[in-house]
Symmetry: C3
Subunit: 361 residues, 3 copies
């Protein structure tokens, strides 16, 4: 049985298969209307996210299935102290597949380890949100026809934006990709992403604070929101914010076939006036997200018999100190680390991917 | 494509068609069980209203369709600052028709302007609630067989009761209708309704504080709740409240074929002892509301190709000062007014219908 | 028409029929997939209970029906002051069967008295939770093949645990049943259960504080949670809590065919290490709960024409003083008592079963 916890759980070939299915659904929706008849999706949203939840629900209904679930933790047994593991076991009695959103890093992985049905990570804290990346990838593929040889601008909050990190991970596996990282100093891409993703794959990138200067070279422009709360100094936020708002003016220097993406919801980081521009693809991205979720649900339900990825060697005598990690709250959940660099003795928590370096011998 | 934002969006002929369909559904429910197979209704309730929401959901299920949505704003992307326009565009990717409840006047109109699917106003602030009026109309029609030549008593809170205003607007288009407005001084029907609806259509009415005295003449008695909070002086509320509670005693003077309506939920303004009286039609009204919503959903889905009502001339250099209007909060939404009286230079905000009078020249 | 408010509403023969249907569903699920096509279940949860709600929803979907409802009171018309009776009448217009959870004792009974469709009590305050008992019974039957000649250990909070009281009531109707009541002094089984259930049926029982000592004799071990808040003295809680946590260690003295039950959610009263023990049946119990709810929904929908149980004589000149009883809040609901012991002049409130003893006469 397979689950989708991290976008890297799927190889480029497997992602291409999902994209092919999604394109077939778009071309022949009638062929899919009864594919999940009698099946149930459980949407377990321990924190609210309407857009993602409704996308999953629409996907399941368009496959002929049904949906049960909850949309916030206070309506759930979690409020009574139930562990994620128990919730996963209980829901396995009620549904055929789970989509889980949870405020703690690693919670969907714990669910997948305990459920007898496939689990889709619909966002875990600031950690992963792989189905957003699926939406991004289908949109790029449908607009550009390829993933290689693309100059991809990422603009806004590159520090905390998990959708940005996932997209970088996914695209770094294709040749000829180049990133332009556009952000204020305070919100630059973390160095571990540069070292462990970009450098490892030999992906070229440049960093800039200037969206307008970066514009002409871009094939893709991925916008994200800059939140006031991220700035220690509010005057700094005020000084910067307008330079990261996309307007028709700023688009004048862009390529004619630029593809503008945004994970939504937007507040004001893209002017409404841009919506009419044919290069604005963020509402197409919403639609594509639904089709990729349909393809994913089909894929995981069909893969029930399939063996999971081979288990890596696990080390248990380290302790994760990430306060947002599920290991801090889950009842009787053992610590677990995998080695990601033998030479430098780097280990990462399997739940939240926090790093520990083994000192001495 | 058509939407239903205000009961007056539909002509008397169109309302009659809806009533005919609803009556056919009641007579032949089996004919409708698959009519919306594969379609999805999105119930976007930015404030809770269980009865209305469940009525829409029951309606869609009885047509064979499915339902997605949310029941309060805190579970929605609106909590993250998404505009109504963006929500409408996103939901257009997931559903085939929207029913929206929103605390702000005009929000469903903004949704209809941006959605690519029909929008039904399921209540916007204190402004409109047209599907309640559809329930009222079908009940009157089924009980009385006509809309003309009726003496209609409206009792309780006539000042803030939006269902009362909508019903007056709808019934004022039929000949021979007469209103008896029964309310305490503090909660009388606003003068703009008298001037712009009753006077314009030449509809006779009388005002009284005395429910018992008004009773004998009535064909219809529409009860509403009087809320304590509406009274600046609580002793005044205490003095008055019992005279507006409908009891078997007060019904002794009523016609034998009186039809008693109430939009529900009731608290205590109709004694439970009245429920057994065959003239009590308020639970039939609930059932009729479901059938009219079924007819409406069918009508709007079938009218996808239809041209919307012709656009009126819009003036944009006035500013709406209604603090509850959607124009106060929606991102980049332009002001918009239509002229409702050229001679007296009266303009009304297209979103909330607040009045502005153009001074000088 | 029948409803299920209290587990004793169904005779042992009727319970056996439900169990037979549930077993047939497990053996031939395909035969049931369309049995409720076109029917709607309303899940009216005035307080949250995810597990119970999702079990009902999964049950209805596996029968081919649909579900409408709400998952907490603040999304419901109850927040506007609607009575339970009115809610039941309104929902009767929208659905075919109701599952109601409510914080007040007796609320589902009031719903059943007013609805025109069957009502299932999905938990009313600390009072009844009969579908949990259905899950317990099916699990015992599937594991043991009988209800008679069983030694049943009940461990933990026997004072407030309504699932414990219901299970005692249900099992006390079978011959050869024996209870071992395992709890701290503070949480012993209330004496009225001993007198009015155990003594009346001549069921032997013993009381102990020692789980380990009781273990070897048990055929069934029903675990419940001990909540810190139940103890006036927190040091007493600290002293006791570990002795009521089930561990592999404590299970060493148990029978090989012991059946361990728990109504879930658990917090830490059963160690996760016990989950792997083949005697751990609490996740099977979850699955069985779904099948019994399916059987129950079918049974009640098929019994629409059936006469309800004959009404008992009702006394109305007593007053219930239970502050949690629905009679304290429901609009115009009359007091109602039934005589449960003519000789000793004991009366019980029909809503919450609180006792009144008629003095003098």
């Amino acid at each position: 049985m397979r689950s989708l916890i991290n976008i890297l759980d799927f190889s480029p070939e497997e992602l291409q298969q999902l994209i092919d299915v999604a394109n077939d659904i778009i071309a022949h929706p009638g062929d899919y209307r009864e594919r999940c008849r009698g099946k149930k999706l459980a949407t377990l949203f321990f924190e609210p996210s309407t857009r993602t939840r409704l996308s999953f629900e629409a996907a399941m209904y368009e496959l002929g299935g049904n949906v049960i679930g909850f949309s916030e933790a206070q309506s759930s047994s979690a409020a009574k102290g139930e562990s994620v593991a128990d919730t996963a076991k209980v829901i396995s009695c009620y549904a055929d597949i789970i989509a889980m959103r949870h405020p703690r890093d690693g919670a969907p992985l714990v669910a997948a380890m305990n459920a007898s049905i496939p689990v889709i990570n619909a966002g875990d804290g600031g950690h992963n949100h792989p189905t957003q990346t699926l939406a991004d990838l289908l949109t790029i593929y449908r607009e550009k026809g390829r993933f290689d040889r693309l100059t991809v601008g990422l603009c806004g909050d590159l520090k905390y934006g998990r959708t940005v990190h996932s997209l970088i991970s996914a695209l770094s596996r294709y040749p000829g990709v180049r990133f332009v990282l556009i952000s204020p100093e305070e919100l630059k891409l973390p160095s571990y992403v540069k070292k462990e993703v970009l450098a490892v794959h030999g992906i070229p990138y440049e960093q800039t604070e200037d969206l307008e200067a970066a514009m002409p070279a871009l094939d893709i422009l991925y916008m994200t929101r800059i939140q006031r709360e991220r700035f220690p100094d509010p005057t700094e936020y005020e000084r910067l914010k307008d330079s990261y708002i996309l307007t028709p003016e700023k688009l004048k220097a862009a390529k004619e076939d630029l593809c503008i993406l945004h994970p939504l919801p937007r507040v004001n980081e893209i002017s409404v006036a841009v919506d009419k521009d044919p290069r604005a693809c963020y509402f197409k991205q919403v639609l594509n997200g639904k089709y990729m979720r349909m393809a994913l649900i089909l894929r995981l339900l069909e893969g029930m018999e399939e063996a999971p990825a081979p288990e890596e060697e696990i080390v248990a005598d380290l302790i994760c100190d990430n306060p947002r990690c599920i290991v801090q709250t889950e009842q009787e959940l053992p610590q677990a680390f995998r080695c990601t660099n033998r030479e430098r003795k780097i280990f990462r928590c399997v739940y939240c991917e926090s790093k520990r370096i083994l000192k001495g011998e």
